[in-house]
């Protein structure tokens, strides 16, 4: 969640003097350059040079600054596990003598330039025959010659140019998913084909009001209709029957039950009429209903292929680990790790299991697990929990617990993660039950009436009322409303897992926020300097120092200096970073120190840095001043909070970070809100649990960004993962929100609520149609013509109404 480049200017209207990296567009100084082009780091420059050597600079012309910042140098052993035969076998789709095929998911793919470069991989390496991308699914298909280039080399090449593939060894789910989608489209295609042809063949019937001159011609038409309706009934409509049957077996009348009944009755009566020669049947209505309902479902179920909403810790962990055996380094998959194994963890690698440090010094960044921003210093024999990222040099460690028993994975062993969310049944279901009940009462009383007056009319009137009163408009209004709302949410970069999240969102009354990365920027901050005005030379000194450091505060100061000054890096000697204290180095034979006050004043009592959010600065022991750093809240956050609290939502903040921001948060949230700090992932989960236990009516919305929120996201009714970059991995959740849109949260909730109003009105509309239809049916007067007019008119008008209403409502809510 860190490492994000700052592309937009800060809102304070400061002038931006810095240049942008030619490759990735990140603002930078002018120290790294080639061919009169500037780069933020060597990584970006190397990619540029590689592309330039291969004549691929077209990459930079198709889109502006398309590159992806290469995050540090990955170690040479990072992809060593791809040499493993078993891993290879799992990944390769096809393995022939001189050709191998492989499919990768590349979350970084985002523009036309990406497609162009990725499909020109063969010009960079002769071993690659060709590559083809699927932009929608962010996938690439590569065919390569294993004699010329190994799988590992292919992945390394992709990672080098910035498109590191996401590799998982159990990816079977995706393939089956794809097939199901196609099946739905086939069903719609078949239903549409049959519906339109039946309609056409029924026209003579409509216009002659049931009396076509030639009897044999009429017979041909009706039998053709019957033949055409068979695929609709047996193929396209089968999911309604299956779902209704499943519901009935569990003694639950779901929304598909009345639909299945209507289809069955319509089909049965039509067959009877056609074979007995008494009429033309209602096959046109039946196939039309099936077609519209299938389209509605498809519209609603269209999901975001390139997002994954069901990730667990395994997606975050490295797949391969370097194990030291008898002094030799071997690679193994993470599941092979055993207690007592010695492992090697290099810079910027994640610690795969709880382990004790044997040699080297650990500088562990736990921001990913706990939300705490400051790296922790760990010495020899100290225990390090899995999930931290080593920022310092390589360390060797001894595994204490295997991966699935480590501290962080315990969270996933909580039964929240195995349990399905107890979804409240949609408010549409009770409607459909009442509907069915009332329908049976009407049909029954019709039968009673005609049995007393004209028994010959019992059968036609009862079947006719079951045909015409099909609750399909209920289903249609819900599917099209939710489908269209999902699209509007998606347009605003709020991606919901499925349509039931909309309903859950509309019931929310309590909102819990994470702080870092959700309410505040994770990589931007407010920086003030207190002290004498800094000279240019001094600024360059500070810049040169913080540039070398990996500490988050250093990164913030670096960003600030680039934005406000013209900086030029100087030569730095004897650079030393003392974790938890500060950095020291000499520039131009002067000793520069940056860090905590105690560190500057050579006081050994250490105080943690970000507790105070201060970075002091000294030259040759003379204190020059202090940078005061405070979290920068996202734009519009306080307005959003105000609007939410004025609407009586209960608000809470739970942060894994320290209390430095307490005052600011209190001024934004007011007195009633609970604001908690130092919360562990487990405590966050428990907090949500407690909220729900205290009052069963509490419906919780949780906003969080990191793995440390994963349990809370899962436990809440709606868990929203906030992400700076939606191509990055997010914890398991119900929805993914672009971090720039956090301030629209109150509008999103209101929009979700408006969906219920739209559906209620469309129900009323459909009930009016039903009253008209039933008034014909109970009298035994329902001709196929009336049914054929009523059916499309009601379906189309309801679909139009809900689509327009949801779009209008979105506009009014400013979405």
């Amino acid at each position: 969640m860190e490492d994000i480049s700052v592309k937009e200017t800060k809102p304070s209207g400061r002038k931006r003097i810095a240049v942008q990296c030619y490759h990735c567009g990140e603002i930078c100084d002018t120290s790294v350059s080639t061919d009169e082009k500037y780069f933020c780091c060597d990584g970006c420059k190397f990619v540029y040079q590689l592309l330039q050597e291969n004549g691929l600079c077209n990459y930079y012309e198709l889109s502006e600054k398309p590159g992806i910042k290469v995050k540090g140098k990955f170690s040479s052993q990072r992809f060593a596990y791809l040499e493993n035969e078993e891993v290879k076998k799992k990944l390769l789709r096809f393995e022939g003598g001189s050709q191998c095929h492989v499919n990768f998911y590349l979350p970084q793919m985002h523009c036309a330039s990406c497609i162009w470069l990725l499909e020109n991989l063969h010009t960079i390496d002769q071993g690659i025959f060709f590559s083809k991308t699927n932009f929608q699914r962010k996938e690439i298909f590569i065919a390569f010659d294993p004699a010329k280039i190994s799988l590992r080399k292919v992945v390394e090449l992709l990672a080098f140019i910035g498109y590191e593939p996401y590799i998982s060894l159990n990816e079977d789910g995706k393939k089956s998913n794809k097939k199901v989608n196609h099946k739905k489209i086939f069903k719609i295609g078949v239903a549409g084909f049959c519906f339109s042809n039946i309609m056409m063949l029924s026209f003579p019937e409509y216009f002659s009001s049931g009396n076509i001159g030639q009897a044999d011609l009429q017979k041909v038409f009706t039998y053709l209709n019957l033949a055409l309706s068979l695929p609709v009934f047996f193929y396209s409509a089968n999911e309604f029957f299956i779902s209704a049957w499943k519901g009935l077996r569990q003694k639950w009348l779901n929304i598909d039950a009345p639909i299945a009944l209507a289809i069955l009755v319509t089909f049965g009566r039509s067959i009877y009429e056609i074979i007995s020669g008494t009429g033309a049947g209602y096959l046109d209505s039946m196939s039309g209903i099936v077609f519209f309902m299938l389209v509605g479902r498809w519209f609603q179920d269209k999901t975001y292929d390139s997002f994954s909403f069901d990730r667990d810790y395994k997606s975050y962990f490295p797949l391969g680990v370097s194990i030291l055996k008898n002094g030799k380094e071997e690679t193994a998959t993470i599941s092979q790790l055993k207690k007592g194994d010695q492992i090697l963890v290099r810079q910027n690698e994640m610690i795969p299991a709880d382990a004790i440090i044997l040699s080297g010094e650990g500088n562990i960044d736990y921001s990913f697990v706990s939300g705490e921003n400051t790296p922790l210093l760990k010495r020899r024999t100290e225990l390090v929990y899995a999930g931290g990222k080593q920022l310092g040099g390589a360390i060797t460690m001894e595994v204490v617990h295997p991966v699935d028993q480590s501290y962080i994975t315990q969270l996933w062993n909580n039964d929240v993660f195995t349990r399905q969310k107890n979804k409240d049944r949609s408010f549409i279901h009770p409607w459909s039950r009442y509907f069915t009940l009332i329908l049976f009462i009407i049909a029954g009383s019709t039968a009673l009436y005609w049995s007393l007056n004209d028994p010959s009319k019992i059968w036609p009137s009862v079947t006719a009322s079951l045909i015409v009163a099909c609750p399909c408009s209920l289903l249609l209004s819900a599917t099209f409303t939710f489908g269209n709302m999902l699209r509007h949410f998606g347009k605003n970069k709020f991606y919901l897992k499925n349509s039931s999240v909309i309903e859950a969102l509309s019931r929310i009354n309590t909102i819990v926020f994470d702080k870092t990365g959700t309410l505040t920027h994770s990589s931007q901050a407010n920086v003030f300097f207190e002290g004498e005005k800094l000279q240019n030379e001094e600024i360059n000194m500070i810049y040169s120092l913080v540039k070398e450091s990996v500490h988050p505060l250093s990164r913030i100061i670096k960003q600030e200096l680039i934005l406000t000054h013209i900086v030029r890096p100087l030569q730095v000697k004897n650079f030393k970073e003392i974790a938890g204290k500060g950095i020291i180095a000499s520039v131009n034979d002067m000793q520069i120190k940056l860090g905590s006050k105690q560190f500057i004043e050579n006081n050994e009592l250490s105080a943690s840095l970000s507790q105070t959010g201060e970075v002091w600065f000294s030259i040759n022991g003379i204190n020059k001043g202090v940078f005061k750093i405070s979290n920068q809240y996202r734009d519009g956050v306080s307005e959003m909070i105000k609007s939410l609290s004025s609407k009586k939502y209960k608000l809470h903040v739970i942060s894994g970070d320290n209390e430095a921001e307490k005052k600011n948060l209190e001024s934004i949230f007011g007195k009633q809100a609970t604001i908690l700090f130092h919360q562990s992932p487990q405590e966050k989960l428990n907090f949500i649990n407690e909220l729900k236990n205290r009052n069963s009516k509490t419906k919780v919305l949780m906003l969080g960004d990191g793995l440390n929120d994963a349990g809370a996201l899962k436990q809440s009714d709606v868990g929203v993962a906030v992400s700076e970059n939606t191509s990055q991995f997010t914890p398991a959740c119900d929805a993914i929100m672009d971090s720039k849109e956090v301030s629209k949260l109150h509008r999103f909730i209101q929009y979700a609520r408006s969906g219920r109003t739209v559906i209620t009105w469309s129900f009323i509309l459909s009930i009016l149609y039903n009253i008209v239809g039933l008034s014909f049916a109970v009298q035994g007067l329902l001709s196929p013509l009336i049914a054929a007019i009523l059916m499309p008119v009601s379906s189309i008008s309801i679909v139009t109404y809900v689509t327009l209403a949801t779009s209008f409502s979105a506009k009014r809510k400013g979405l």
Partner: protein, 60 residues
């Protein structure tokens, strides 16, 4: 009136042909990705090898 029957038979045959074409195109994955084909056709076959010195990073 047998002409009419012939006509209908033909029309259904043609419509059926389109249905098969539709199913075939879905199976072939023509609707899987509606973005990359639209940009792919605009790419030049041979990448330009020479340097383009007019590309200086924009300074804002």
């Amino acid at each position: 009136m047998s002409v009419l029957i012939l006509l209908i038979a033909f029309s259904i045959l043609i419509a059926g042909g389109f249905l098969i074409a539709f199913i075939w195109s879905v199976k072939k994955g023509q609707y899987d990705d509606d973005y990359s084909p639209s940009v792919r056709m605009l790419f030049d076959d041979k990448p330009v090898a020479e340097k383009n010195s007019s590309l200086i990073p924009k300074q804002k």
